[in-house]
């Protein structure tokens, strides 16, 4: 049955003024900053950074001339002892040495100071060596920040799905691609800030350690250029990690599932498969993360692929994974994940 309903004439529908420009971006930025998880993470990061500085100040020291003299004496003694063994080896090569291999090769070259870590290794508290630690620290900070960024990226969109607040948001901003794009943009901005903060944190920490317990050795000429390049790649890695977390969680719509997949990936695929089939390493995310951020990339040895050519008889195949190649690989994976997550978000029924 049907019947008509009579109501007083309604006022005509007014064209609404558009929402202020960037209102969605502002709202998402506010939400990003106000997220308890982000705030807790930032607090833990600052505490960890302060603790690392304090530990560094206690770990490194300012050795005296006497400390250096004692360390040099210890290094000389070890080198001398090794040389004595070596001479004995040369005079009387081992009976099980391969036939035709010269005694020099069997007994090895003379031991050098560098082979045993330098004289600093024999000081009770070695000074902080900025030249040696600069890029290493930048890589370490990039790695830690990337792990955090992955979790931030995953929870940023995962919390939306778990609370289904993204559905409520669509009552207000129904253009799904715009909503997803805004969330993505805010995440990239946040991850960039995180990556830069991590690298600035390392510079400040290194500066404090260098001033308090650093060596007097001058820095190499290309030190700052090389360090800044490593740090820039570190920031890029942090952003890519956040995007990977965001993309993966957009697809599975659950933070726990995304983190579980990431854990299984690292344990099963990266570690086990990476060791069992080293020749697959150039296609693994962890290897490419190292390839992107390490100064000059990484040189891989394919122990599962031996080179039997005349000049490399029995040697494993070497593979150079450069910064650019790794960056492109990680970017392509991140784009694919986010693209798939976005397409699914645009097409899915929302419940």
């Amino acid at each position: 049955m049907t019947a008509s309903v009579q109501h007083p004439p309604a006022e005509p529908l007014q064209e609404l003024p558009p929402a202020p420009r960037g209102s969605l971006v502002k709202a998402e930025l506010h939400r990003f900053r106000a997220r308890r998880f982000i705030q807790v993470l930032a607090g833990i990061g600052v505490l960890g950074w302060a603790a690392a500085i304090i530990i560094g100040l206690f770990t490194f020291g300012t050795p005296t001339e006497a400390d250096y003299a004692a360390a040099h004496a210890q290094v000389d003694r070890i080198i001398q002892e090794n040389e004595t063994y070596r001479q004995e080896c040369l005079d009387d090569p081992p009976s099980d040495a391969p036939e035709g291999v010269p005694a020099e090769e069997v007994c090895g070259p003379p031991l050098t100071e560098a082979d045993i870590g330098g004289v600093e290794s024999f000081l009770g508290k070695a000074p902080f060596d900025l030249a040696a630690s600069g890029t290493v620290g930048a890589v370490a900070f990039a790695g830690l920040a990337s792990a955090l960024a992955f979790v931030v990226g995953a929870t940023w969109i995962g919390a939306e799905w778990s609370t289904r607040s993204i559905v409520a948001l669509l009552f207000w901003a129904p253009r799904r691609m715009r909503v997803m794009g805004t969330k993505f943009g805010v995440l990239v901005a946040g991850a960039t800030v995180l990556g830069i903060a991590a690298q600035v944190g390392w510079l400040i920490m290194a500066g404090i350690l260098d001033a308090a317990v650093g060596t007097d050795e001058p820095l190499p000429d290309d030190f700052w250029g090389s360090l800044l390049q490593t740090q820039a790649r570190g920031v890029l890695l942090v952003v890519l990690a956040a995007v990977l977390g965001f993309g993966l969680t957009s697809i599975v719509r659950n933070t726990g599932a995304a983190l579980g997949i990431a854990f299984v990936y690292v344990v099963v695929i990266q570690l086990i498969l990476g060791n069992a089939k080293p020749s697959w390493s150039p296609w693994l995310l962890g290897t490419n993360a190292a390839g992107l951020v390490m100064d000059g990339g990484v040189r891989l040895m394919f122990w599962d692929k031996v080179d039997y050519s005349a000049d490399k008889l029995g040697q494993p195949v070497e593979y150079y994974l450069g910064n650019l190649q790794s960056g492109i690989f990680l970017t392509v994976v991140a784009v694919l994940l986010v693209g798939l997550g976005t397409v699914l978000f645009a097409r899915r029924d929302m419940h």
Partner: protein, 309 residues
Amino acid sequence: MPAVVMEAVTKTYRGRRGRPPQKALDELDLLVENGGVHGFLGPNGSGKTTSIRVLLGLVSADAGTARLFDRPVPDALPEVIGHVGALVETPLFFPNFSGRRNLELLAEVAGVPRTRVDECLDIVDLRDRAGDRFKGYSLGMKQRLGIAAALLKHPRLLILDEPSNGLDPAGIRDVRELIRRLGRDGHTTVLLSSHLLAEIEQVADSVTILTRGRRVANGPVREVLAGRSTHDVVIRVSDRESAGAVLQAAGFGLSPFDDVRGPALAVHNVQAPGEVTRLLARHGHYLEELTPVHADLETAFLAITGEPA
């Protein structure tokens, strides 16, 4: 220009994990004129929430058309969404943010002034607890915050899906009063989806009843009820047995019963109550009471859908 029009909208959800596909909407028609409160009534799983999700662009229809204020949705939804406030099932907010913070974030998205947040918190009587975290709210407070969010845009169309869920009796009364008030303000059209028949009966001007994804009745509530009239009357007389014999002899069906007010007689299939009055008066029985038995919405609903709400 109607607020809502749906024509022959069909939606089938894909079957998952071996379950067969489920047809949620089966060529559903829905017409909600501007102004007033329109009830949307149907048994669980009849497609009420799916219909609302189609209107809000959350679910894509397989066939048919849907329009809000004469704009096709979902294509033109961005043009009209500023006129539409909605509370669909459970309110969806960030649990660690306060109620006020949640509303402020939504207000910021649409460029609604912050003063409106406090106005809406006042409307739902939640201002005192607005600073508390959402996860600490009772079910009723969450529901009230959801209604406040739906009101933020000062909407022309307010879609409320089971707004009384979780509310205590006082809260239910307040929400119903609010809905009535909004329906009468000349600005707002309320589409009220509810499984509470009494709620629809109390506050709605018109109603659409659906079952298994199809519309089975619609129109003003009174007309829907009138279409299901019982033609029964209840009478009270001083001598029930004698009066009953007179009516029985005239061919009326009778059901005597007792209630707190004493003995009474239900007379069935009375086309004109005056017949009963005249007949009894001719035999010296004078009525103390004659009350037509109106069908309530529950009776009508059960008769129309053939299943419980």
